[in-house]
Symmetry: C2
DNA sequence: TGTACATCAGTGAACGCGCGTTCACTGATGTAC
DNA sequence: TGTACATCAGTGAACGCGCGTTCACTGATGTAC
């Protein structure tokens, strides 16, 4: 064995990480293999000893967003304790945070790439579905843990709507030109999402700052 | 004048309509000028007598999505009377309808192209902002018209959240592989959006069908 | 009415560039002795 | 410890294709007389 045992897997991870950053920022089509390999500190030629094609890499990147433990919480923008009793509001606040809004490269792929996925193949959409289902589960558990539980169907429906609100709010915020409008939208979505989860009284306090 | 007066504007419209359909389906980068011109019944060469470049066409297409009267209501999937007292719930139901989910080509660009826009230039994001602001205004008026009005800030916030929920619900639904899951998500988002607008009692009736 | 003409909308071949993909080669690494 | 070697990770030139863009040309149209 001319190279240490962990060498290739480690390099492969570096390629995937580079691709993830570039896909998040520019989308699938606009990123060249040259750029991906350069981002991993390599050159073009080596790519095909790691992946069969560019679209194979794409599927693998999407799959990794949620299966790899070190990226499981990346989309939350900040550290969130998924087992905590208040995981629901924590996820909502982190997801719609300024940090997540700004950090496009390390963003949740559901915010950065949803339309790319919907135009993509089955594998991509299945990976997306897994990520979304996981997010809904976390939120649903958060609703279940509160003092006034509602029926099961309502809880699941609420969790789905909250997830869609978080994702939609971020997707739209990033597409707006006006920064203040984007901030106001994130704020409005956060309030509505927390209310949908029953994590906040319906009557709002006046805004400060 | 060798050609009738309305000829060129009419052809330009055809090119834009073809581009709109193709962009909605495949995104900006994946569509070639060949395909756009063929969709308008023309050949490649004529393009540059109508537009300066491909990205100029892109900006023009996005701008038209809302300024051209014949497309103003296309994103609503079905006909909606924006002046009606119940325009709010009408817009929500139309936006999250099965028809809008399925008709990708004639879809609202905020659902089909939000991530493309966020990666695009200022012009694209400004056009998006105009569309979004218009949608929020319609929803806000709908909230204002109901019997129990709340404070202004709450109304605007609610309208923004409802819009984000409609857009996010559709974006996510289209990215899911499982059709039933997409339907359930649309349904959950519709219920939550109607509740946020105060257009439906918080207690839900059991589902039928 | 019919013919010659000027205009210009649209054609399609050609160009150049970038990118996905391939491949013969280089050189860094651990192993054998 | 030191040297020769086998392995294979990574290199970079080359290929071919597609696409944005250009341009000389064709031919359809309305007008002049």
């Amino acid at each position: 064995m001319p190279y240490p045992a962990g060498h290739r897997p480690e390099v492969k991870k570096r390629i995937i990480a580079s691709a993830r950053r570039l896909f998040n920022r520019h989308g699938f089509q606009a990123v060249s293999l040259d750029a991906i390999m350069a981002g991993a500190g390599l050159t073009r030629g080596g790519f095909y000893s790691y992946f069969g094609s560019k679209s194979e890499l794409y599927a693998e990147v999407l799959g990794c967003f949620f299966t790899e433990p070190e990226w499981q919480s990346c989309w939350e923008g900040v550290e969130v304790d998924l087992a905590a009793r208040d995981a629901g509001p924590q996820v909502v606040r982190a997801y719609l945070s300024r940090q997540h809004y700004e950090d496009v490269e390390n963003s949740c792929p559901m915010v950065a790439l949803p339309t790319d996925v919907s135009r993509g193949d089955k594998r991509a959409r299945r990976a997306f579905e897994t990520v979304f289902a996981a997010m809904v589960s976390v939120l649903e558990r958060g609703i279940a843990a509160r003092t006034k539980p509602t029926q099961g169907r309502n809880r699941r429906d609420a969790a789905q709507a909250i997830a869609a609100l978080c994702i939609g709010g971020m997707v739209v915020a990033r597409a707006l030109e006006n920064r203040a409008a984007a901030d106001a939208l994130r704020d409005a979505c956060m309030g509505a999402a927390l209310r949908l989860g029953g994590w906040r009284p319906a009557q709002r306090r006046p805004r400060r700052g």
